[in-house]
């Protein structure tokens, strides 16, 4: 069984933002607003994802007048598959933990004097 890559919580948030509309190119600032990440955190994540071939980047062809061209990002096909899997597996343990917590807590409470 191929092991899925592990992602940090911040990377997962970026993947989730990119997964919202995977076919659309997104800007760095929009991603920062969606994820709440600062530029110093967001861009290293995008660089790593691009290095791994999960995100593709390109320059805007037609910039707004008087403004520099923007860099655009979206998931590749491999990135979309990885992101979907990672987000699903990240959600699963949380659900499992939530389901178990009362029982565990109950046991601990029951053992307490």
């Amino acid at each position: 069984v191929a092991s899925r890559p592990k992602f940090s919580a911040q990377t997962l948030s970026v993947l989730a933002a990119l997964c919202d509309e995977p076919s659309q190119w997104q800007h760095g600032y929009a991603l920062a607003k969606q994820t709440g990440l600062k530029s110093g955190t967001l861009y290293p994540i995008l660089i790593r994802l691009a290095d791994r071939g999960l995100v593709e980047a390109c320059w805007q062809d037609e910039p707004q007048p008087g403004r520099p061209r923007r860099h655009l990002y979206r998931l590749t096909a491999a990135g979309l598959a990885s992101a979907t899997g990672a987000l699903a597996s990240a959600a699963r343990p949380t659900a499992t933990k939530a389901a178990r917590t009362p029982a565990v807590r109950g046991t601990v409470v029951g053992l307490a004097p």
Binding site: P22, S23, Q24, W25, H27, G28, Y29, A32, K38, S39, G40, T41, L42, Y43, P44, L46, I47, E56, A57, C58, W59, Q60, D61, E62, R67, P68, R69, R70, H71, L72, R74, T76, A77, L80, A81, T84, G85
Partner: protein, 430 residues
Amino acid sequence: MSKQTRVMVAVARALAWLLPAGRRDWAEAVWAEAQQVPPGMARLAWRAGGAWMLAREGLRPRRLGRVVVFAAAAALAAWTAWPKPGISHVTESEFTAIAMVVLLGLAPRFFGVASPSRAGRFLRVFCYAALLVFLAAQGFLGAFTGLVPRRAYQHLWAAPRGVPGTSTSGPNWIGATVMLVVAAGYVAVFLRLTSRRSQVTRGTLVLGTGWGLLFGVVMYVVAPLGLGNYATDPWLRGSEIDPLVVLAWVLLFGGPVAACVLAGRRCRRPDGSVPSYEFRIRQGIAAGVLASMTGALSVTAAALGTITLMIKSAWLRQWLYHSPHLTAFGTYSHEIRATQVGPYLFMCLGFPFVGLFMSSVAAAIANPAPRQPSSPPGNGGGPPGPGPEPGPVPPDGGRVDRVPVLALSGCTVFRMPGPPGSGLPMTDGE
């Protein structure tokens, strides 16, 4: 633009130079995006985060280690080559030292990062180390000959000659220029062949390096202390050296041929298939040129390094010239005669052309163009290849692939696969 912003932009541009060539787009990206952030503290924070990202990316430990090692080695070489008091051709020596260090520092930015193979990384380190030794040695030896009294030269050579750096001879700008051009050529070839973009295979690099180092070792044993008529070999006496001289000549012409033929035969494409004959010819020529350049550079660095150490340290001089009959003047004359850098420079200049010629001939002979099979018209001239494999089913059930890829935006890069049969472009790694 406020003063703070201007300062930050300048800092960011400077930091962007710390990044590898493939990362600089990101520096530009984070800076361009700052224009979309509302002005004020938010934009300042965005820029500060960008500067932090650039600093972190540029100063990653491994990269920082390489930069520090190179800076230390370059500083040591430049310090050794720096003109000492009493030499009149100060400007030329300073220019050579500074220009060489700048050349070595900036060159990787134009050729990209090294290929992931060990052979590629080794060749880059070897090239840089050899050129820094060359720089240090020629500077030191130039200073040494500049301080030799004219009478010593007149005594050693019958005809009076100009002594570099004294009243009879000015700065050798032609020599300095030739040296820089040769160094630039070596750096360009080594970095190009070992870059990630290069199509030269790992096997080709290994073969070229191996034959080149063998040639370099043989030449060094033959002439460790200069290539002139008066050069001496402290290890081999009289006719003992003759077989090695023959071997050196054989390797000079035969090494590139052997490397070329072997590289052409052994090269494979990444998928293991046998490449076309044009690809094999290119690999062969690359191996041949690499062999001759590696040989020339290794013997130059090793011999000039030995000569420099011999002049600097008495114990090495004593070890190299341990004859009981050797007088102090004899040793001194050996030193002066060994300090001729010119022959090594010409060797570095000429050997690559020898390698190029020999390997071109060998590659053309060893890799003949395949004859076209006489097939009936319309038969295509070869077995039918496998058809394209159907693309994988996307995990979202094809939601992405239903979007017309060409209409996504005004971008120039289209790498998303289209569904089979849709007529949209498939991912092909281009």
